[in-house]
């Protein structure tokens, strides 16, 4: 149980970092501007629109980026600086180090996420005077899961990387994979299998493959939650899919509008939570396995 000592110590160190608070501060300002600016432009704004702004700015940029920034040095940093030897000298083993670091960094991200969510709730109250409690709770839970998933990815990468540069490369690479590469890759797969680009009505496997991306899982779940289309950071639909002109603007690209008949279970809200949970377990398991076997000098 010595990982608890590591987690507590590490948490203290990370929350003292000015960079973490700086990123949170910048995000909150950004979030305020987006909310105020956008809500004055859309007709008949509702409280849940604030959540959809958050999903856009917070869910796809802030939460993953801060989680990657906070997590990528967790183990690679100790390894490169030699303080890992001190931890080992203090009776900790590799599992303790990994668990302790994962717990502490996840805690930091959970705190940052809660601050951001609280700010969102305040905005909703201030602008609309009401708070759809159930929706907000589901939103907070999914956002916490998203943060935990990206922390797990970062710590997993950190456990695998021998140097700071490689850990950073892995963290940046994972974000690029999810935002820039995933959708074109799935579209490419469809092209190979079917001979054309996917249309507005998409096969279940296609949407499922997209949803295996944690960012996409979060975005789609939030779309369902607020009952409206939340656009992705990059509008790949208009680039690598054969959707009608204007579909993007009309918001007709929500998952529920793209499948024929009932929504299969693997495209439901709760399944997005399962996807996010898998993204917590798998990177940590891989990182743990590699870390256990590595020569750590």
């Amino acid at each position: 149980m010595t990982w608890v000592a590591i987690a507590r110590k590490d948490f203290e160190d990370v929350v003292r970092s000015r960079m973490v608070w700086g990123i949170i501060g910048v995000f909150l300002v950004l979030m305020g501007i987006v909310t105020l600016g956008a809500s004055s432009q859309i007709e008949d704004p509702a409280a849940t629109d604030v959540i959809s702004f958050f999903t856009n700015v917070g869910g796809q940029l802030f939460v993953p980026i801060i989680a990657l920034v906070v997590g990528y040095m967790a183990i690679a940093g100790e390894r490169q600086s030699g303080s890992l030897r001190i931890l080992f000298g203090l009776s900790h083993n590799r599992r303790d180090v990994l668990l302790g670091k994962l717990a502490s960094r996840t805690g930091v991200i959970a705190a940052a996420t809660l601050v951001a969510c609280a700010f969102t709730a305040v905005l909703m109250l201030a602008l609309f005077g009401s708070l759809p409690v159930g929706t907000v709770l589901a939103f907070v839970a999914l956002t916490l899961l998203l943060g935990a998933a990206f922390t797990a990815i970062a710590v997993g990468v950190s456990a695998t990387a021998a140097t700071r540069a490689r850990a950073m490369g892995g963290a940046i690479g994972s974000y690029i994979l999810f935002t820039l590469l995933w959708h074109p890759l799935v579209a490419g797969l469809h092209y190979l299998l079917e001979g054309d680009l996917v249309g507005l009505e998409a096969p279940g496997w296609y949407l499922f493959a997209l949803r295996l991306n944690p960012l996409e899982a979060y975005r789609q779940a939030m779309s369902l939650l607020v009952d409206g289309y939340v656009p992705a950071l990059v509008g790949w639909e208009t680039i690598v899919e054969d959707v009608p002109q204007g579909a993007f603007q009309q918001g007709a690209l929500a998952v529920s509008d793209r499948v024929a008949g009932d929504l299969p279970f693997y495209l439901s809200e709760w399944f997005a939570a399962v996807v996010l949970a898998v993204w917590i377990v798998v990177p940590v398991a891989i990182g743990y396995r590699r870390f256990q076997r590595a020569d750590l000098n």
Binding site: T2, A5, I6, K9, E12, D13, R16, S17, S81, G82, S83, L84, R85, I86, F88, G89, L90, S91, H92, N93, D295, L296, N297
Partner: protein, 343 residues
């Protein structure tokens, strides 16, 4: 039961022809309660050996036990009983020194007071309250030493412990090593500085290029290698005492006259004082004297046969050739030199 025992311990990086041998077939036994010096230049494999003992890296061949526990399946048992001061580490800059010690004590279920540890390594309470980011290299080294001691280890592993320490810090470190030895702790002391190993160790193993060259006591080494230290005395006039008279002093092996003074080679450090005393008594005007320690390089040359002609090269000469430690200010290869005069 030996404190450390390695059998055929080998570490190679890479495979095939490309493989780099970091440690080759190390058979080493360190007895319990012993202060063992592990001597070798940077890159000889000292840190690799320590990393293998702590299961930081895995051996390519061979195995090792620490305090009777196998380093591979029983890693946790080993780490519970060992205190480590590694070479080249960063601490956690935003935490105070005291917090580091609390963490170290908590990690090992200890009951030592952080203040007691701070005192032992010569850090005051005020330093303990400051964040470690403000510490000098020497203070960090002291703090890491305190952390290594926090679990009351049965085996203390020190890797280049004098890095960044001033002479006073080196003395504190040596006192701690002697104190721990008195309490029955085994100390494994790795260094590339002969003077420091000589100052505290019972036995010394010399490692060169991944291979153990020899294991012996310091005196044994010097005798076998035929290299001693040298006292250079600058005198204004002819020495009143004859060269023969000086040579007769116990521990003195050779006396020659040279341009810069009288060169007295000795194997027993206590002989120095007698020599100077004799000279002063004989009314020779002693202007200055200097001690030139036989260097690690001299020992290597003697043991490995390399550079055989230069078997009796001295520190001042060796340093001109550009040592591998040139980047490490504060680490003088003859670190124990200036203090030895005080003793």
């Amino acid at each position: 039961m030996p404190a450390i025992r390695t059998r055929g311990l080998t570490k190679r990086y890479g495979a095939g022809d490309e493989a780099v041998v970091a440690l080759e077939d190390l058979d080493l036994e360190v007895a319990e309660g012993e202060v063992f010096g592990f001597l070798g230049p940077n890159g000889a494999g000292k840190t690799t050996t320590i990393d293998l003992l702590l299961d930081f890296v895995r051996p390519t061949e061979g195995d090792a036990t620490v305090l009777g526990y196998d380093t591979q399946p029983e890693t946790d048992a080993v780490r519970d009983r060992v205190g480590v001061l590694p070479e080249g580490f960063d601490l956690w800059n935003r935490s105070s020194g005291r917090r580091h010690l609390e963490f170290a004590i908590e990690s090992q279920d200890g009951d030592t007071e952080p203040e007691t540890l701070l005192e032992r390594v010569g850090l005051d309470r005020d330093a303990g309250r400051r964040p470690v980011g403000d510490y000098s290299k020497g203070m960090s080294q002291r703090l890491a030493m305190a952390m290594a001691l926090s679990g009351d280890p049965d085996l203390l592993i020190l890797d280049e412990p004098s890095g960044g320490l001033d002479p006073h810090g080196i003395r504190t470190m040596q006192e701690i090593v002697r104190g721990e030895a008195r309490r029955g702790t085994t100390v494994f002391f790795s260094s590339h500085i002969l003077g420091q190993v000589a100052a505290v160790c019972d036995r010394v193993g010399i490692l060169d290029d991944g291979e153990l060259v020899t294991v012996d006591s310091i005196e044994g080494l010097r005798e076998t290698a035929g290299v001693g230290s040298r006292l250079v005395v600058e005198i204004a006039s002819e020495p009143g005492a004859s060269v023969d008279e000086l040579t007769a002093i116990d521990g003195v092996t050779d006396v020659t006259r040279a341009e810069d003074g009288l060169h007295v080679t000795y194997t027993d450090p206590r002989a120095k004082a007698t020599v100077v005393h004799r000279l002063v008594e004989s009314d020779a005007a002693v202007l200055d004297f200097d001690i030139e320690e036989a260097t690690l390089e001299d020992l290597f040359a003697a043991f490995t046969g390399s550079n055989a002609d230069a078997g009796l090269e001295y520190e001042t000469d060796a340093r001109l050739e550009g040592e591998e430690d040139s980047g490490r200010s504060g680490d003088r290869p003859f670190g124990a030199g200036p203090e030895e005069v005080d003793r």
